[in-house]
Symmetry: C2
Subunit: 230 residues, 2 copies
Amino acid sequence: MPYTYEYPRPALTVDCVVFGLDDQNALKVLLIQRRIPPFQDQWALPGGFVRMDESLEDAARRELQEETGVKGVFLEQLYTFGDLGRDPRDRVVSVAYYGLVNLTEYPIQAATDARDAAWFPVASPPYLAFDHPQILATALTRLQGKVRYQPIGFELLPAKFTLTQMQKLYETILGQTLDKRNFRKKVLKMGLLTPLAEVQMGVAHRAAKLYQFDLAKYQQLKEKGFNFEL
Amino acid sequence: MPYTYEYPRPALTVDCVVFGLDDQNALKVLLIQRRIPPFQDQWALPGGFVRMDESLEDAARRELQEETGVKGVFLEQLYTFGDLGRDPRDRVVSVAYYGLVNLTEYPIQAATDARDAAWFPVASPPYLAFDHPQILATALTRLQGKVRYQPIGFELLPAKFTLTQMQKLYETILGQTLDKRNFRKKVLKMGLLTPLAEVQMGVAHRAAKLYQFDLAKYQQLKEKGFNFEL
DNA sequence: TCAAAAGTGTTTTATATACACCCATGT
DNA sequence: ACATGGGTGTATATAAAACACTTTTGA
């Protein structure tokens, strides 16, 4: 087959599934309300067209910032959705990304240009435009799978966190309860958490010790064949 | 941002990284020789443009068949490559797929229209066009990761295989030797292999028992939360 | 009878699981 | 003093790893 460019081209977009964890340890997803047809006034994943002079990830980050004000977050390619009819007007192929963000540092509605953006519970999202329910489901499955063997969960936590916060996070994502003592044993034995001198504040009970994730140590161990596993 | 289609569009292609295992248990990849510029006469992954009336996977299967004659194989989406400059002439975004095929049933050069297609050792591929080295590397990493927790390895084996064949396959992909007794114990305990009455033939030593993978049983166990793990 | 791979169990070690009470703090 | 979550250890069960010889078959 000749290598030429005379074919009609599908439109190419990116979509972002950004997850965050709220103070009640509920998993949330960042959505925008569409201002124009199709699916006008419906909620959708932030995203838009890929420009000719930017990479796919750049496009995803740009759209995310333009539409929600969120930037500088963990972002990874998820899957590319290209079935016919996923957009009612034209052939549109969308490269989906998923992102993780700690909501304590991204208060809802903090963004300047984001009056149409909001966080929704992943467990009960609103009606979503296009095939975005499917994209969301794919992202959730990916998150659940990946969180167990890669230390991406820390992206959802503040820089300094307690072991209970971390445990609750894993319980939320995996949808199961975990044994406190066993969880702590396992997590601490990996040696990826730096214990801080500081302590939790503003709680009506014994203050918990704070930890932070040691990324440098993780990368160092990873080179030696270490496997994160929870 | 308005939802419109007036932007210039990147070209959209698919590329296929099809792996096979030869009789010496070497991992091979299916390549084609380019007949036109750029990279004329160089080897490349089979692939081509996505048409407006076909899904991404359909496009991958069509191109694979057109260029190599290979069809009906296991094929999964790998990653979408969209960096600037990956094609010297134009902005081209490529959705890569990886495939698995048992070479015993796909003898090299069997395809009608495939005079420019050939299998190469993954360990020592020829010079590859575009960013295809990177795509190949990504596919290999994916295969190595996925083969341990999903029973995709069977796609590389004939329908009826011996335990030694299966072990050698895993040793090849994972790049490490495995203990024969432990491997058999683990594999048989999963209960996914149906032992056949038949036996290996044409070997100059004791003939090994043949097994086949029980897909139905796997899917049934999977629903109950069973985890394939090797 | 030789070569070549098939087939088979037990022991040791490491990891996962189950489980309950006292501690520190703020109200 | 009470309510709330923080913090800790041991015993048991399960799984992983290490390891070597006999059997079958065709050449």
